[in-house]
């Protein structure tokens, strides 16, 4: 596709049913009330010249370029700030207007450097375009403005790794300032000074962009009409000349992007305005951190070795596939059919995941397939399916615009799901109320123009107690939506639940000591959620990664049903998914007990459909989950594993246990971009493809199926699905596809919720939210509207059961884990980009009191010891943590956060309890034993033959 230039209507779209009809240059148009004259003209195809207006932010009316004449109105009002009125008659082009515009332009140009030919924005500059539009021919004021003299100009601010700020090009239109405020919600920029002296500044005068509050989302760069704020990649390569629409491969928000290219080189990624998930916004990861895709560490040739301490040997695809298949087959001959299995990845496309689970079920002949969602959102699937009937969130992201009370539990959206956080903050600035339940004082609790009504700073591990206490208030204070419950929910289950939560032991007063929050706060929060009209729950891994993760998901579903907060816009129970395709990988049948579309393997009818389509007999027995695979590896019954794009050695709990299990296996095949931590234990490495090479679909947290389109050919020469199909054939099951679109056709054929999905439909409609079928041909933005998917909603009894992981004198603190904005998960991608400059190492956050008690100063290296192991990290003293709780991230493998996490897990799904580990912290100036051993493995298990032996 040629370069896709999206229309800029100048001011945002108004969303109201009421319309107004006006005449512009003699032509009639009807638009929503509140629309600007500028936008109405633009929608008619009669753009008005503008500089300070752009449709991503509200009008400001400073440049005076967009003046118009309106019948019966004196003077020449600015069209961007003038709303249409019924019957208005507007002229956008007259001799008087032409003259004024030219005059304004002259003023701008008199103080603008005239180096257009060598300017980075040449060909992509609105100032240049507008000068052309208004017919600027002469500048009567001369070119004496101070910005014309290089010596007078301030030096460029190059501190941000991805964009520069060249104030000499700035026309002080304030688009950047408004983008930072209105779109991103960070308020990092201000205009300082007045008149000709005014200029844009990131924070205080001494700040540069890097040192400021800026989170590098790129909104200001997008908004800037000149070369002032400009991507460094455009400076380096020139303006792009073609676009490919695709989807970010980082988090579960699933933002749509235009990959702007020159040849097969990505020049920049620009968020796409029509993207359903992001509506034109982005975060630092998707916008800028894509350089890993062509990083020198990428492995693009298949490799094999006999033993994990041998150097890797580069081989052909045929040899690598034959090697893997031979080993897998001989393991099965010796140890039985169930002795091998595989793990799918939430970073891969639906099509890639589908073929891996198909290979396991059809070619391996068992159901030993699991996915990395096991360690993040498996409780979401279980909990929401049990209560509502579907393993997915209930809303689209846009729904947040209609929420009145937002309850954020165990999620840190500004870091983990930044673009959704911006949408949420916009709604909060417009007046919605916020309740945050989190042990840590996350940014959302108090940030510019956002302040939580209640921060419930609960003790890690007491989520369910909190939910029961909130429910107690709802039930005992008469806040139940009786009509909703009577009509929509199972009567007997509700009665039982109501009696249970009403018991005195579930009152806030009874539970407050356990939760660590005063009962009044809990009561007020419950009243606010139940009575504030539309109540919406958003949650993350702080809910799921607990021994009661599934119970907690059901407890939230109970609360939403009891208050009638389900089945329309603005409400719901919404998981914020970690990885881009967590939803999709679960949908595609990655669980050992479920075929695609969440149908149990024992369901003979569902299984029969697959058997007929795939021409094979499938096992009706559930297979092994990831933790069961490790246990079976250690007892010798599980010997071979195919790992698609996931780094279990780093991301799964209790590293000692995991590595022992991996070491004990005979054949591990890793399909990935890099030699990751798991690859240290592998015998076969199959190079994978980055999202820039993939052709397929991702499904985000709102069930939105988005296209991922290749912008370059596969670096390794083969698509991942083709590699899997070949391995499958080598294993004896004939799997053939000519394109990934054919795989989607098969998914649609076999999965009722996907029956209306095809690449052609997606290419036409942009994206679709499943279910897409005969009942909902255009998809389903809001679930459970007329009734629950399971029929009636089911209240579940959610008894609070404290975790077995307890603090004591030896391990008196609780460690909880999380993530930060600039890094992503195990960091394999973001660590290979400039994003690392924001987070060079993981740190341990500790409360000042806990630090002082242990003689720890900020920056000291400390040892974190749990019952499982020890690692050492630098300490950061932080008031965000309550006393008794410490916190770290796990973005760097050497931090080894999972060396200390335990084997405890969710009762229903075995999702690990990452969020609660009892630890002791002591000062230490050495790396831990594990960290030393880790460095040794780096030396021994990662060599390739071409490298000189050490």
């Amino acid at each position: 596709m040629a370069l896709l230039v999206e229309p800029d209507f100048g001011t945002p779209k108004r969303e109201t049913e009421k319309t107004v009809t006006v005449q512009i240059n003699g032509r009639t148009i009807t638009v929503p009330e509140g629309t600007s004259v500028m936008r109405a003209a633009s929608e008619l195809g009669q753009d008005i010249p503008k500089l300070c207006a752009t449709d991503m932010v509200n009008a400001w009316g400073s440049c005076r370029m967009c003046l118009v004449e309106i019948d019966g109105v004196r003077g020449t009002p600015a069209s961007c700030t003038t709303p249409v009125r019924e019957g208005m008659s507007v002229r956008t082009q007259t001799p008087r207007l032409e003259k004024i515009r030219r005059g304004v332009m002259e003023l701008y140009i008199s103080d603008h450097p005239l180096d257009c030919l060598t300017c980075a924005a040449n060909g992509d500059c609105e100032l240049q375009d507008t000068a052309g539009e208004v017919g600027l021919r002469d500048v009567r004021y001369g070119f004496q403005g101070e910005k014309h003299f290089a010596e007078a100009a301030e030096p460029k601010d190059e501190s941000n790794p991805y964009f520069h700020f060249d104030s000499s090009k700035c026309i002080v239109c304030s688009r950047c300032v408004r983008a930072c405020e209105e779109v991103q919600g960070t308020f990092a920029l201000t205009i300082q000074g007045r008149g000709f002296d005014s200029k844009v500044s990131a924070g205080t005068a001494s700040d540069n962009f890097f040192g400021s509050e800026c989170v590098s989302c790129g909104a200001c760069v997008q908004a800037c009409p000149t070369a002032t704020l400009m991507e460094k990649s455009v400076y380096d390569h020139g303006v792009p000349n073609r676009s490919v629409l695709t989807t970010c491969a980082y988090c579960g928000v699933g933002c749509s992007f235009k990959a702007e290219m020159q040849g097969d080189q990505v020049v920049r990624m620009v968020p796409y305005k029509d993207g359903g998930a992001n509506e034109g916004h982005s975060c630092v990861k998707g916008r800028f951190a894509w350089g890993y895709a062509t990083h020198k560490d990428r492995i693009t040739t298949p490799m094999v070795r006999d033993k994990i301490t041998d150097p890797w040997r580069k081989v052909s695809w045929d040899e690598a596939i034959a090697f893997a298949a031979d080993r897998f087959k001989s393991i099965q001959q010796k140890y039985g059919n169930g002795s091998i299995g595989g793990i799918t990845s939430s970073r891969c496309t639906n099509e890639e995941v589908f073929v891996v689970q198909k290979m396991i079920r059809a070619a391996f002949g068992n159901n030993n397939v699991d996915t990395c969602a096991r360690v993040c959102h498996s409780p979401t699937g279980y909990g929401l399916k049990t209560t509502f009937g579907t393993s997915a969130g209930t809303q689209n992201f846009k729904s947040v615009e209609k929420a009145d009370v937002i309850l954020v539990i165990g999620a840190n959206p500004t870091d983990g799901h930044p673009v959704f956080a911006s949408r949420m903050k916009k709604r909060l600035r417009a007046g919605a109320k916020l309740i945050v339940a989190d042990p840590r004082k996350i940014d959302l609790v108090r940030s510019p123009h956002v302040s939580a009504s209640h921060h419930i700073q609960l003790r890690p591990g007491t989520n369910v107690a909190l939910m029961n206490a909130l429910a107690h208030v709802v039930v005992t204070e008469g806040l139940v939506d009786e009509e909703f419950v009577a009509e929509r929910c199972e009567e007997a289950d509700f009665a039982r639940w109501r009696a249970f939560v009403a018991e005195a032991r579930n009152a806030p007063e009874a539970l407050s000591e356990k939760i660590g929050v005063d009962p009044q706060t809990i009561r007020e929060a419950a009243r606010l959620y139940a009575t504030g009209k539309n109540g919406a729950i958003y949650y993350g891994l702080g809910v799921t990664e607990h021994s009661q993760g599934s119970t907690m998901v059901m407890a939230m579903a109970n609360l939403a049903m009891a208050t009638g907060n389900i089945g329309r816009e603005g409400v719901g129970v919404n998981p914020l998914r970690g990885q881009n395709n967590v939803q999709g990988s679960c949908d595609m049948g990655s669980f050992p007990h479920e075929l695609p579309g969440y149908r149990h393997v024992a369901d003979a009818v569902a299984r029969g459909t697959f058997e007929a389509d795939w021409d094979v007999t499938l096992s009706p027995e559930p297979g092994l989950r990831i933790p069961n695979m490790f246990a079976a590896a250690l007892d010798g019954s599980f010997r071979g594993l195919f790992v698609q794009g996931e780094d279990i050695a780093q991301s799964d709990p209790n590293t000692h246990h995991v590595t022992a299990a991996l070491e004990s296996m005979e054949c591990i095949v890793v399909q990935d971009l890099f030699l990751n931590e798991t690859a240290a234990f592998a015998q076969v490495f199959l190079p994978g493809t980055s999202f820039l090479e993939k052709d397929g679909t991702f499904t985000n947290a709102e069930r939105r199926i988005n296209r991922v389109r290749p912008v370059m050919t596969e670096q390794s020469g083969l698509s991942e699905w083709e590699v899997v199909a070949r391995l499958s054939r080598a294993m004896g099951y004939d799997m053939h596809y000519s394109s990934s679109s054919e795989i989607m056709d098969e998914i649609a054929r076999l999965t009722p919720t996907f029956s209306g999905v095809s690449f052609a439909r997606l290419d036409r409609d942009g994206s679709l939210q499943w279910p897409v079928n005969d009942k909902a041909p255009n998809g389903t933005p809001t679930m459970h509207v007329a009734g629950f998917v399971r029929g009636k909603g089911r209240f579940m009894i959610t008894e609070y059961v404290p975790t077995e992981e307890r603090t004591n004198r030896s391990f008196p603190l609780i460690l909880t884990t999380g993530r930060i904005l600039s890094q992503y998960n195990v960091g394999a991608q973001t660590r290979r980009t400039e994003n690392s400059r924001w987070h060079e190492t993981d740190v341990l956050e500790i409360h000042p009191f806990d630090a002082e008690e242990r003689g720890i100063a900020d920056g000291d290296r400390v040892s974190i010891q749990s019952r499982k192991g020890a690692v050492s990290l630098p300490a950061q003293i932080s008031e965000r943590m309550p006393q008794g709780v410490v916190y770290t991230t796990f973005h760097h493998p050497v931090s080894g956060a999972n060396v200390i996490t335990t084997e405890f897990s969710d009762w229903a799904t075995n999702c690990p309890e990452y969020k609660v580990t009892a630890v002791q912290i002591v000062r230490s100036n050495q790396p831990s034993d594990w960290q030393v051993a880790y460095e040794e493995i780096k030396r021994t298990n990662y060599r390739t033959e071409s490298e000189p032996a050490e």
Partner: protein, 73 residues
Amino acid sequence: MSDDIEELIRMANQIATFFQAYPEEEAVNGTAEHIRDFWTSAMRARLDRYVADNGTGLHPLVTRAMGHLQQAA
């Protein structure tokens, strides 16, 4: 007692602890169905053997649930 049986006991007991909030028959069924739907046959067989051996440390609902599953088989 080997590690893996301890792991299975813990998992089974956790499941029973969730369902014990329900009336006993429902709790037995809930526990049994959960183990049937999510565990491999090897894991179930291992726990069956343990129940037959002595079953120490198991939540009473687990013992009943396993009996239930055997009858159904």
